[in-house]
């Protein structure tokens, strides 16, 4: 493959992933172009880019999903390539084709690959051909409730309804009995239409209590494919990942070898170009089935980077430039253990309902083994229009117990005030015996999570400290109102006096 010049890249995304891609490109000396909807003018990815252009109003369909505007913007500012991030147009073959036609490099796989893998049915066929195990299910899209009921009866309940064009956990529903099919099909089709513009849904056997294992792959588009080992992403709510780890605590070396080989076979079957992820479902009796292939960078890619000592954005750019794979399979080793915690603006105590609002405080944790990929800053207003992912906390440890302990330490250090968020959920999860043992499955949250546990009484120490602090806060506030001082400046006298008292000099 001949080398292609890429010196300026338009990042067709927002939030933490746009920031991370910009950071990676900048480190390679590439000029970075951000795009944004109207309310995202002050979003972090816009602030940190070299250039930024507005592409439309708030709704994604009128901004981040406007392929024509993105390509016109790239042409106008002289960008050689577009990095799509994840979500939005990252798995849109039509957009990839339009880029190609406009002479702009689409940093991702070939459009045919996106087409093939983006449709769950064609992907299934390809896997059957290549000898990669798949879950039993319908071979065609289903729209009619009666047809759906018939298919479900054949497959056997419980079944899973899935948007054919879906991804990222959206547009999926479990159905346990025929009576639920009608509503579930309507809702799933509605979400599929709203999210992906395509209401095709298909039905497959629902594996009870499975684990979600996925394998990171890189392909050079000329037949060479390597894998960067697995990630386990079984902690999910509403079918969306919340905590991911690498390695998986569920794999023996033999099973790891088998599942990574299957992933390489999957990518080889389409002569894969770029970075991709092959997702598998692992049953309780350690059978694994192909779930889908995500033909893009994954939210949880940092845990792979930390364990393998790689940089996947750099790898993507090198491959897009036609410089081939940056690593050989032999060079790659898993070292230590990494866990990612997705920090969402949502209320875990209210069924993970999304939250919005201004970020009043954001002091991210730091120190050994801690990485934070953030899309926010103090004073930023989290908009309602997009995914509520604020930041990702990634921790690395020498082994799994250290990674868990470090995660706990970093989550306790994390200061985040403003919209509700799920840090309390993460701390809860890290204390569950099933999580600590590594035996949790995708039903972990549904089965184990009880919001009432957040209302557990505080230890006496903490409760007293909290009440004391609240009373002192109120005393300070009233003093500030009375004197006209800003609250931050008044209490220095207290500090001095308290100090004097401690040393016994008063």
């Amino acid at each position: 493959m001949s080398e292609r010049k890429i010196t300026k890249v338009l990042v067709a995304n927002r939030g933490e992933i746009a920031v991370r891609v910009i950071q990676g490109l900048r480190e390679m000396g590439v000029r970075t172009v951000a795009v944004h909807s109207t309310p995202d003018r002050t979003a972090l990815h816009v602030l940190v880019a070299d250039e930024a252009y507005e592409i439309g109003p708030a709704p994604a369909a009128e901004s981040y999903l406007r392929g024509d505007v993105l390509i016109a913007t790239a042409k106008a500012c002289g960008a050689d390539a577009i990095h799509p991030g994840y979500g939005f147009l990252s798995e849109n073959a039509g957009f990839a084709r339009q880029c190609e036609a406009a002479g702009i490099v689409f940093i991702g796989p070939r459009p045919e690959t996106i087409d093939l893998m983006g449709n769950k049915l064609s992907a299934r066929h390809k896997m059957l051909e290549s000898g990669v195990p798949v879950i039993p299910g319908t071979e065609a899209a289903v729209r009619d409730p009666e047809v759906a009921k018939k298919a479900a009866a054949e497959i056997g309940y419980p079944v899973l309804l899935k948007a054919a064009a879906g991804g990222g956990g959206k547009g999926m529903r479990v159905v346990r009995e025929p009576a639920e099919i009608d509503t579930a099909l309507r809702q799933t089709m509605g979400e599929a239409k709203a999210s992906f513009g395509d209401d095709a849904v298909f039905i497959e056997r629902y594996i009870e209590n499975p684990k979600h294992i996925e394998v990171q792959v890189l392909g050079d588009g000329e037949g060479k494919v390597i894998h960067l080992f697995e990630r386990e992403c079984s902690v999910q709510r509403r079918h969306q990942k919340v905590i991911e780890e690498s390695p998986s605590p569920s794999l023996t070396p033999e099973l790891r070898e088998a599942i990574c080989s299957a992933a390489v076979r999957t990518a080889e079957s389409v002569n894969y170009l770029g970075a991709g992820t092959v997702e598998f479902i692992l049953s309780q009796d350690k059978e694994f089935f192909f779930l889908e292939m995500n033909t893009r960078l994954q939210v949880e890619h940092p845990i792979t980077e930390m364990v393998t000592g790689t940089d996947l954005v750099r790898a993507q750019l090198r491959i897009a430039r036609g410089q081939g794979l940056p690593y050989t399979q032999d060079e790659l080793r898993q070292r230590g253990w990494a866990i990612e915690f997705r920090i969402y603006a949502e209320d875990p105590a209210k069924n993970f309902m999304p939250a919005i609002g201004r970020i009043n405080s954001h002091i991210a944790p730091s120190g050994p083994g801690v990485r934070v990929d953030s899309g926010i800053y103090e004073g930023f207003d989290v908009p309602i229009y997009y995914d509520p992912l604020l930041a990702k906390l990634i921790v690395w440890g020498e082994d799994r117990p250290q990674a868990i302990a470090r995660g706990r330490r970093a989550l306790m250090e994390y200061t985040l005030h403003g919209p509700g968020h799920n840090i309390p959920f993460h701390l809860w999860a890290l204390e569950r015996p099933r999580f600590i043992a590594g035996t949790y499955t995708t039903n972990f949250i549904d089965e184990r999570f009880d919001p009432a546990e957040f209302q557990d009484p505080l230890p006496d120490d903490d409760r007293e400290a909290l009440l004391t602090a609240a009373a002192l806060w109120e005393a300070r506030r009233r003093e500030a109102v009375r004197t006209g001082d800003s609250p931050a400046s008044t209490p220095s006298a207290w500090r001095l006096d308290a100090r004097r008292r401690m040393t016994g000099n008063s």
Partner: protein, 178 residues
């Protein structure tokens, strides 16, 4: 010479009384309703956004932020996030008397969104947890359920309607003893 002030702190319905005494020489003593007075070594840090407390050598770092509501305070202590309301004693008294006379409730939108379906009608009986409507927000369909068992008095929204945070969507009366 001690100057004393008393506050009532409400944490999800549980109320505590705290007495803050400041001495002319700068000492601070805090008395919680279930304990004796206690000297505290307190320093505001992080530009006044957190309080470092020492009690018998034990350190507590408490992040505090005012919320929009009157007396509202969001606090973080050891990774636990809590919402408090700070009141003076009079307001606490007034609030308690109001609560005891209200037997119904409203279901308001917690986030702006669009109502995509309604599963109940006015006059209908519902059990706590029953689905009432689906609100689409942030690309997710959120099922809104009945907070208590009782009767629907009024549906204030229609399918397709946009709602803002705090908009009342459903009014209902709780079943006595329910």
């Amino acid at each position: 010479m001690w100057m004393k002030k008393r506050y009532v702190l409400d944490n999800g319905g549980e109320q505590y009384t705290a007495e803050v005494a400041t001495h002319r020489d700068g000492r601070i003593a805090v008395k919680l309703d279930d304990g004796g007075p206690r000297d505290v070594d307190a320093c505001w840090v992080q530009n006044g956004r957190a309080l470092s407390l020492r009690v018998d050598g034990r350190m507590h770092l408490i992040d505090l932020t005012a919320t929009g509501q009157r007396g509202g305070l969001a606090a973080t202590v050891n990774g636990r996030h809590l919402a408090l309301t700070v009141m003076d004693e009079l307001r606490a008294l007034a609030q308690r008397s109001v609560e005891s006379t209200v037997a119904g409730g409203t279901v308001a939108a917690e986030i702006p969104g669009v109502v995509v379906s309604l599963a109940v009608t006015a006059g209908q009986k519902v059990h706590q947890g029953d689905a009432m409507l689906v609100l689409e927000a942030m690309k997710m369909q959120n099922e809104i359920t009945a907070p208590v068992t009782g009767t629907i008095d009024e549906i204030r929204v229609e399918v397709g309607q946009s709602v803002s945070t705090g908009d009342v969507m459903v009014m209902m009366t709780a079943e006595v003893g329910g």
